[in-house]
Amino acid sequence: MPQEHIEEYLEAIYDIAGKDGTAKTTEIAEHLHNAPASVTEVFQRMERNGLVHYESHKGASLTKKGFKIVMKLKRKHRLLEVFLARFLHLSEEKIHDQACKMEHTISDETEIALCKSLGGPTECPHGSPIPPCNLDVKNCEECLAKQTITLEKREKEIVTITSLKPGQKAKIVFIRGGRGAIQRLCDLGLTNGTVVSIVRSAPLKGPLEICVRGCKLVIGRGIADKIFVQIEGS
């Protein structure tokens, strides 16, 4: 089975899955225009490869490995959308389908070069966030300033500060965004390597109250989405 096919299955699970992260076999079959029996077969094969957890009658959910692949694809997809809209001036309805096809074929190096030439965008033209790269950099400025493309990877997984649970501690490793915002966050003590924790967050994607250096700060969701952390002890 070609890699592209597997990737489409992974993405379908991610897009369709309910709150518990599980996508039903019938739903996937409908989405990909396949017979349920063959979907089950693919799920079983993917489970053997460690990409999904599969339970008959319930469906499939992504493993960490599978999730990582989906994030990478989403990143490529949304970067391509920005490129197609901004440089090739394709209309917004067309870019999605085009990017869907291209995302499976571009290399990681192309992905990074694309990100750099676009100035490190944070959102696709439809407003969805672009997942961060896993390069070993502390912010986008550093990467953009470099002439060459380096492919040093981060060893540990990073998540945005918004995905922390209240009370959970994490270390800041990467801040996305312009100089002004980074400077302000630094001034308030949110420098790289600082341990932060979430106190609470307001409903409906409201702001977060965080605890840093013994002080409490409120930061808007838009800013918090650009602060990436590494969970302590992970």
Binding site: D136, E142, C186, L188, P203, G206, G214, L217
Partner: protein
């Protein structure tokens, strides 16, 4: 008067600079428990041991690389006006972050005295700070203070006086950063050795490495080669740390701050969450927090409505007891003009405005305002702002003037414009007096609340339109969240009095004077001539009695005056006999939005310029007339 010494108070937001200022000068700078109260620098005098000392209170600032407008005021003052001594007020409960700024002041080689404030609160949190050790590590005098109680504030002045006359070189700091940075600072210092740009060399070198736009510009004019050298050096640092140099230096400063805190501070973690944290859990709860907020707002409104009505009646009965009931031109003028004007103004003042300021003071001093900013951040996005805007909005419920100035805490020009525009639509205490004193008292509280709801809807709609059509985007909230504290009765009363005083001094004489003028015009029938001229709008379109025309003109000066003068112009105290409920509602509605008062217009001109102030004013007049006319026609169908 000869000034012997200038002392400037500088430090992070909400650490007690203004409290120290008030203690030293005896003045009434606004204080409260929320970041961003002080947006302008204030000056006051102190005579200490026979010396005339000028004290400057600066807005809160987190760093010398500035972010919002009020912070530039502070940076420019410290950097360019060279005060004799800078008093760095430091919050003992958040030492690490506060020292970050102290380190920058040390780099500037300013004569420095550190006021370690809030030591009482720190002690309660289980934090002990070794004052002597801190003094030794920083190399500057450190004084422990409790500003709200005046403890230690005069020791700061003594320490400052001791610094005067010392050689500038004695203020050079011994604090050093990582070797790879120090090496490059030194290189730049050598390049700068024969050049004088008015700033200390070490500080200039650091600022060049940080790529601070103003310093780079300054040096670039005379020595572009040094700027290029600095760029190369800063890139070397970025390369080592994989971060922009300014972020590396910030990290280094924090590392030094952490080291100092570890040496001077012992912390005992309290076993159970403090009362403040428990209150946070309730007042910032995803559902309960909002319920509590609405309950507080509604109960303030209800309370002031009933209290104001009660006071008005009590004062009326008291004064009418002395009514001589004489007839004739002069007795009419004296009683209906002067006396009624006076006591009606008094009842508005004591019934509505003073209690509102007292309640606002409690909210401010307890630290509830930032919680509202947190809760309302998301809803504020709908009108193109972020949660911080709620703090000037709440001030606007008292008076629109400080709210317009307070909007300086908004970071971008666009946000400030929207915030100022919307602030002028917030019903201030004067408008509250009209709404509650007229509609609340004579038609029903539910109708008064309906007027508030209409006003909030207007703010929402106008905000949405502005957000849609003004270019740019809001930057998002980054704000410190201060802990709750028990409001101090003394502070609340003093603050309310300071805000209330201008009302007593300017508004009451103005209203009494206006009342006499109107009574004269009424007796001589000139009033009807003026009112008739405005009747196409007032009578035909808005459906109001003709005599209200003059009140709208007078209301431009003071909105509450329109309520007081209504009784004079109507010639009776029982407004129900001359106005129908619909007319009262329409009158209050138009007064509520038709124009910002003169003082607010003046504040707008100062903040955003003539042109924009005129636009806003004209827009609001048009809007009020339009909505008033529609309301009149709609209400007549239902009532």
């Amino acid at each position: 008067m000869k000034i012997d010494l200038v002392l400037a108070l500088a430090g992070n937001a909400n650490v007690g600079k203004s409290s120290i200022f008030n203690q030293l000068t005896g003045l009434g700078q606004v204080i409260g428990n929320w970041p961003g109260k002080t947006v302008e620098k204030a000056e006051g005098m102190l005579v200490h041991h026979g010396k005339n000392i000028k004290i400057i209170d600066l807005p809160g600032i987190y760093s010398l690389s500035t972010y919002s407008q009020e912070e530039i005021v502070s940076r420019d003052f410290i950097a360019l006006e060279h005060p004799d001594v800078v008093i760095n007020v430091v919050d003992a409960t958040a030492l690490e972050r506060n020292l970050f700024f102290t380190l920058q002041l040390l780099e500037m080689e300013a004569p420095l005295v550190v006021s370690l404030n809030l030591v009482d609160v720190a002690k309660k949190k289980g934090l002990e700070i070794d004052n002597k050790k801190l003094q030794e590590l920083l190399g500057v005098p450190v004084v422990s203070t409790v500003a709200t109680k005046g403890i230690g504030v005069h020791d700061i002045v003594d320490e400052s006086l001791a610094l005067v006359g010392k050689t500038p070189s004695s203020f050079q700091t011994k604090i050093r950063y990582g070797a790879e940075i120090e090496k490059r600072i030194e290189k730049l210092e050598n390049l700068l050795s024969n050049i004088d740009i008015g700033y200390p060399k070490r500080w200039t070198s650091i600022k060049l490495l940080e790529d601070d736009s103003e310093i780079v510009k300054l040096v670039d004019k005379q020595h572009p080669d040094i700027v290029i050298a600095a760029k190369i050096l800063s890139e070397e640092i970025s390369h080592i740390h994989k971060e922009p140099c300014s972020a590396v230096i910030a990290s280094e400063r924090y590392a030094v701050a952490v080291r100092i805190v570890n040496e001077v501070q012992t912390a005992i973690q309290p076993a159970k969450p403090s009362i403040g944290e428990q209150l946070d859990a309730i007042s910032m709860h995803s559902a309960g927090g909002y319920l509590l907020m609405f309950a507080i707002m509604l109960s303030i409104l209800m309370f002031i409505s009933f209290f104001g009505g009660w006071i008005a009646e009590a004062i009326h009965n008291l004064f009418e007891g002395f009514n001589p009931h004489m007839v004739g031109f002069w007795p009419d003028l004296a009683w209906n003009g002067a006396m009624i004007g006076f006591y009606a103004a008094l009842s508005v003042a004591l019934g509505f405005i003073l209690p509102f300021y007292l309640i606002l003071g409690v909210l401010e001093d307890s630290g509830y305002l930032p919680k509202i900013a947190y809760l309302m951040d998301k809803p504020c996005h709908a009108i193109g702002l972020h949660g911080k805007a709620c703090m000037p909005f709440l001030l606007a419920f008292g008076c629109n003037v400080p709210a317009c100035v307070g909007c300086r805490i908004m970071e971008t020009k666009r946000d400030r414009f929207i915030a100022i525009f919307l602030s002028t639509l917030v019903p201030c205490s004067a408008r509250t007096a009209v709404i509650l004193g007229l509609v609340g008292a004579f038609v029903g509280v539910q109708w008064a609340i309906a007027l508030y709801i209409i006003d909030f809807l207007l703010i929402l709609i106008i905000g949405k339109i502005l957000n849609r059509y003004l270019p740019g985007m809001s930057v998002g909230i980054i704000m410190e969240m201060p802990p709750y504290r028990t409001p101090s009765g003394k502070v609340v009363i003093k603050q309310a009095w300071n805000r209330f005083k201008p009302f007593v001094i300017t508004a009451i004489p103005l209203i009494v004077g206006g009342s006499i003028v109107i009574e004269t015009l009424r007796i001589t029938n000139v009033l009807s001539v003026i009112s008739d001229a405005l009747s196409p709008v007032t009578v035909v379109w808005l459906g109001l009695p003709a005599f209200t025309g003059f009140l709208f003109i007078f209301g431009i000066l003071r909105k509450e005056a329109s309520l007081v003068l209504l009784t004079t112009a109507a010639g009776t105290l029982d407004i129900r006999s001359v106005m129908s409920p619909v007319q009262m509602i329409v009158f209050a509605l138009v007064i509520m939005i038709y124009i910002p008062c003169v003082a607010t217009i003046a504040a707008m001109v100062r903040e955003i310029g003539w042109k924009r102030a005129v636009y806003i004013t004209m827009f609001e007049i048009g809007l009020a007339v339009f909505i008033g006319g529609i309301a009149f026609r709609l209400l007549n169908v239902f009532m």
